[in-house]
Symmetry: C2
Amino acid sequence: MNVNVNTTIDIDALWREYEDIKSRGYALDLTRGKPGKSQLDISMGMLDVVKSSADCISEVGDCRNYGVLDGIPEAKRLFSELLDIPAENILVAGNSSLNIMYDSIIRAMQFGVYGSVRPWGREKHVKFLCPVPGYDRHFAICESLGIEMIPVPMTDDGPDMDIVEELVGSDAEIKGIWCVPKYSNPSGITYSDEVVRRFAALEPKAPDFRIYWDNAYAVHDLYPDDKTELLNIFTEAKKLGRRNENMIMYYASTSKITFPGSGVAIMAASEDNLRRTKELMSVQTIGYDKINQIRHVKYFGNADGILRHMEEHAALLRPKFEIVCDTLERELGGLGIASWRRPKGGYFVSLDVLPGHAKKVYELCRYVGVKLTEAGATYPYHHDPEDKNLRIAPSFPENDDLQTAMDVLCLCVKLACLE
Amino acid sequence: MNVNVNTTIDIDALWREYEDIKSRGYALDLTRGKPGKSQLDISMGMLDVVKSSADCISEVGDCRNYGVLDGIPEAKRLFSELLDIPAENILVAGNSSLNIMYDSIIRAMQFGVYGSVRPWGREKHVKFLCPVPGYDRHFAICESLGIEMIPVPMTDDGPDMDIVEELVGSDAEIKGIWCVPKYSNPSGITYSDEVVRRFAALEPKAPDFRIYWDNAYAVHDLYPDDKTELLNIFTEAKKLGRRNENMIMYYASTSKITFPGSGVAIMAASEDNLRRTKELMSVQTIGYDKINQIRHVKYFGNADGILRHMEEHAALLRPKFEIVCDTLERELGGLGIASWRRPKGGYFVSLDVLPGHAKKVYELCRYVGVKLTEAGATYPYHHDPEDKNLRIAPSFPENDDLQTAMDVLCLCVKLACLE
C-alpha cells in the first residue's frame, strides 16, 4: 500500500474533530461478532415449536430423557442436507462448536486422535499452523494447551498452500491447522476450490495430522443472489481415500442462525474419527440437549427452511456491512493508508492500516469510547508482527451507532497514519 | 449374612417356574436411573414459560446472545437458595453435571487444580479413592484418564472415614475422592453429620487433593415428610479455613428434576477454585445455554417451587420403590441369601446377594429377558471382589413391568444362591 496524500488534509482540523468527539462520551463497541437484537427476534418462533410431549418424540425415543450420545437422527439429517455431508458422518452436540473443538483438542492432548502413536500431550512438542489473520479463540485454545502456533499468511484464495504443504509435509510436530474456510474470520475470504483440493490432498509427515475445519459461516451469506460456494472438503477427501478423510475434523453450529449460546453445534468426521470421538465422549457425557435439537428440527423442517431464515439475517446485516465498507471507502479510499475487502458473508471486516499503526488506531478509538477488538488479537500470541490488522464486527450495534463508530474509526486511522 | 433355609424350598419347582418365564420372552430393563414417562410429563410446563423476547432478559442482559460464562445470576440464586451455598460460589453450566465433572478432572490432568505443583497428568501416578459400591460413570472417568482407583468400603454412615483419613493423610498420590453424599448411588446411604465433618476437616498429604461431591440427589426425597438431611459440607469447610474450602468441588443438576439431558447443571466451589475454573473454561466456551437457565428460573420461581415439584416426582417414584422393596422382603426376607436397604430417596436400590453369586444372578436374569446393570459395575474396573452387589433402578419401567422384573429377579437370586 502506498501512502498517497496529495489531497489536502488538515491534520489540525482532524485533531479538533477528535477532541470534539472525546467530549461526547461515546460508549460504542465493534468488538465481537454477536448478532444484533433484531436478528435474535427473527428466531423467536423457535421457542414455541416444542410444547407437548408428542413434540419431543424422535425416531430414537423421547428427547426428554437420557441417551443418544451423538444426537438425534432428525438433526443429523437436517445438517446433512444443509452441509452436504452424509448423516452418518455427523455428530450433533450441544450449544457451542467452540466447546466441541476445544474438547476435540484436549482429548487429542490426553489420548491422541485416531492413528496417533501416543497422546499429543506426551509428544516432545506439538505445533499448529494458524492462517493469519485468524480467529482469536482458536489461537487461545492452542496457547492454553501449550501448542506452538506457526502463522501462515492468507492470500485472496485462502492460506498460502505452498507454505502449508511444505511445513505439513516436512515437520511431524505439526499436528493441526485451524481453518475458517468460508467468509474467514476476520478477512471474509473464502478458500478457492484449488485450496480446498490441496487441503484434502495434504500429505502430512505426522500420521495424526488434523485439519480443524471450522465452517462457522457455512450459510451466512450477505447476498442471497450472490453466494460464495465453498468446495466440499469431505467429498474431495473421500475421493482420495480413508487417510485423507481422516484428516478432516469439521465443525459448524446454529449460533448465528438461531441463538448464540442456545443453538446446536455439530462435528462431522470420518467413521474412524467419529468412532474414537464417541468412545471417549461417552465417558464425558450421557448426551447433549436433545430437546433443543428437536426444537431446531421442528422449527426449520429442512435445509431450505434454514436458507430462507438466513435471508432474513442477511437483510438485517447487509446495511451494517454497507455502513462499514461505504464509510471506509468514503473516508479512507485512495489515501493509501488502509486496505480492506468488501465481504460477501460472515461477521467481520478486516482492516489493514499502515504497518506499525494498528495499535495506535486501537488506542485512539478506545480513548474516545469506541471499542475495537484489540490490535494483534487476530494473530497467535496477540502478536501482529506488522502491527497493521484490525477486526471490525458490525453486527451488534444499531445502525446509527455503527455509523458513528465507523466515522470515529476512520478519523483515528487518519490521525494515526497521516501524522 | 447367614443362609437360613429351614423353610422347605422346592428348587425343582423354581427351575420349572424359570423355564416358564423364559418362554414368555420378556424384555424388561432395570439398568439405568432414568425417570419414567409420567415423571417427564410433570415438567412440560417448563417448555412454555420462555416465549417472548422479554422472557429472555436477565439482569446481565439478553439470554439469547453470547456471553456470561458462569451462568445468569437469577439461576445462581435459585441454586443458592436450594442448596444453601452462596451464589458467588456457584457456576451454572450446561445440560450435564457428569460433563462438568469430567471437564474438571481432564482440566486437572492437563493443567492441575488451584494449588497444584504440576498438572496431574505430569505426576508419576495419580490415585482416587472410590467408596464402593459407587457410581459406574465416576469410575469410568478415572479409568479413561488412567487414574488408579482405590476402593473404600461404605458403612451405614458413608465411606469408612478411618480408612479415608489414613490414606488421604499419608499418600500424596491420592488426589481425589468421589462422593455421592445423599442417597448414594447405589446404596441409598446418606453421609452422617460426622462423616461430612470429617470430610471437611481432611488433612491430605497432597496439597491439591479434591473431594468430588456429586450431590446428584440433593432434593430427591421419596418421603417429603421424612427427608434425610445432609450436613452442608461448604459451611463446615468454611469454618475451618480456605484450604479446607478449596478441597470441595460440588456438583448438582436438574437432570432428575426437569428433563435428563435438557436440564441445568451447576458446580459450586471456593473463590480460588472458581477463579481457576473460569479462567480455563473461558478458553473452552463462550458460555452455556442461558435460555435454558432462565427457563428453569421462570418455571420454578424459587427453591420452594423446586421442592413442590419434587413432591410430584416422589409420588410417582414411591410406588416403584415399594414394589422393589416389598418384593425383596416377601420373596427373599429371612432366607439369609440377600440384604438390602429401603432407601428414603435417590434412584437406586442396592442388593447384596451371597458372595460369589451376583454374576450368576445377572446372567440368569439376562437369559430370561430381565436386564440388570452388569454385576461388578458398581466397583472400580467392574470388579466386585466379593461378586455380591447388584444395582436395581426402579424408576423407568411401568409399575406392572417392574413387578414382573422384580419377581424374576427374586426367583433368580433364589436359584443362584440356594442351589
